[in-house]
Amino acid sequence: MPDELANQTTEELALNRDNSMPYQARIGDKSIEELPNDLHVPPDAMIVMLESFEGPLDLLLYLIRKQNLNILEIRLADIADQYMQYIEMMSTLRLQLAGEYLVIAATLMVIKSRALLPQLESDEEEEANPEAELRRRLQEYERLKNASERLDALPRVDREVHVVHAPLAESYAPEVQPEIELKELMVAFADVIQRSKLYQQHRITRTTISVRERMTDIIGKLEKSEEQVPFDALFDVREGKVSLIASLLAILELMRSSLVRVTQQRPFAPIFVGLAEATSVG
């Protein structure tokens, strides 16, 4: 097996291994068993696949299952080469490789070299047997994986379990208002963001908040004043360069959304900012 793979590029290699992955190729309702060698797999897809492993044990377990063998049957030395190919792919694609992957790689190399020297088997009772140890860890990990899948399958609130609720009639509702903690708000936001696939990571950043906040601030200032506000009154130089840029971007964004109007009587005259007509607030 290792020899036959030796001449292939990492991409072809990945294609050959890809058949039983969760990311199967399909045309119509026909799944593609054999992929043409010249088909280009975008590196992004490869990264998604490689990152889907939870760690080296998960990767090893996948390699074992792919051969339809269980942990106790497989000779770990036999899959050492496949494991190494994946490690290579990961570094080729510059994925951040956790140190744990390399530790397991070293262990597999030790196991493989011992397998090549069968006459030493008499020693195995005395010294630590790395193959038995790795097998034990794989068994443990497999149990954990099963346990977490079962946990995930339990009926749970918000998914299968709907807690029933009835409010009091508004007229009997107490004056006492529910209290919340800031932490609850953060958790709610984290949940919502995680649930949403529409949001990319970069959309939720501190800097985004500051520009949006600035937009709210500026609208607030404009609402308070009856008339238009001089452009420079919307800036506070003491806030520093970054804040000034944020204010400017906020004004530009508000202009773009037609929430404010910026006027200037003639060139070099003072610039005024006011709320756009349609934004009168009740």
């Binding site: 918000d158 709907h162 807690v163 029933v164 609720h165 009835a166 409010p167 009091l168 009639a169 009997y172 107490p174 006492v176 529910p178 919340i180 800031l182 609850e184 708000l185 953060m186 958790v187 709610a188 936001f189 984290a190 949940d191 919502v192 963001i193 995680q194 649930r195 949403s196 529409l198 949001y199 990571q201 959309r203 939720i204 950043t205 501190r206 800097t207 985004t208 908040i209 500051s210 520009v211 949006r212 906040e213 937009m215 709210t216 609208i219 970054v242 840029i245 944020a246 971007l249 530009l252 964004e253 959304s257 037609s258 929430l259 756009a276 349609a278 934004t279 009168s280 607030v281 009740g282």
Partner: protein, 198 residues
């Protein structure tokens, strides 16, 4: 298809009203059953009959079926509200998850429209929640977004910041990635405008 009986419809409607955070009107209820009938008119009659029966059933319990502007709702009746007050004196009431999520969306993403909130939350946010947040003085209308339909833009108020002891919205703990909340950091990068087309 198997026809549903009035009693079955009544039971289903009861669970729907209990599970929904919001009053449900006949149209919303009809939607839930849309695979169950061929003739909307006769099903509507069945539904109304079921609601009538449910209303009568409630009389023997501590709840009542009422019709408010946005639809039907099951609520604790007056006699039993006293008991709920006793409970709340020891276990104060809490806001629903839907309300917290809506407030969080507004706090972090303002100015934001209801449509934008719905898009991320994946459900329709009820007007009731927005009204409660405004009544509490935490959320206000900032204006209207200049897109078709002129949707209202929402933002948080000074009172919101005061309640949470924040000096500004920038003091909200930032969310760095979808998975986790990182402790507040002082990283200063040029702000980037995020396109907020809807």
């Amino acid at each position: 298809m198997a026809e549903l009986t009035v009693t079955e419809v009544k039971r289903i409607v009861e669970t729907l009203l209990f599970a929904a955070d919001e009053p449900l009107n006949v149209a919303a209820l009809m939607n839930v059953f849309d695979s169950e009938y061929d003739d909307p008119r006769s099903f509507r009659e069945l539904l109304v009959a079921a609601l009538d029966e449910l209303e009568m059933d409630c009389e023997a319990r501590g709840i009542e079926l009422v019709q408010v502007a946005s639809g039907f709702r099951l609520q604790v009746d007056k006699a039993h509200s006293e008991w709920v007050h006793k409970l709340w004196r020891r276990n104060p009431p809490r806001y629903s998850r839907a309300l917290l999520e809506t407030l969080a969306m507004i706090a972090y993403q303002q100015p934001i429209t209801r449509g934008e909130i719905d898009e991320v939350r994946g459900v329709t946010t009820s007007g009731n929640i927005l009204r409660r947040l405004q009544e509490r003085g935490w959320v206000r209308e900032l204006g209207r977004k200049q897109v078709p339909g002129l949707p209202i833009l929402y933002g948080t108020t000074r009172a919101f910041l005061d309640y949470f002891n924040l000096r500004s919205i920038g003091d909200l703990p930032p969310l760095v990635d979808g998975e986790s909340l990182r402790v507040k950091e002082e990283r200063v990068e040029p702000p980037r405008i995020v396109a907020n087309e809807s």
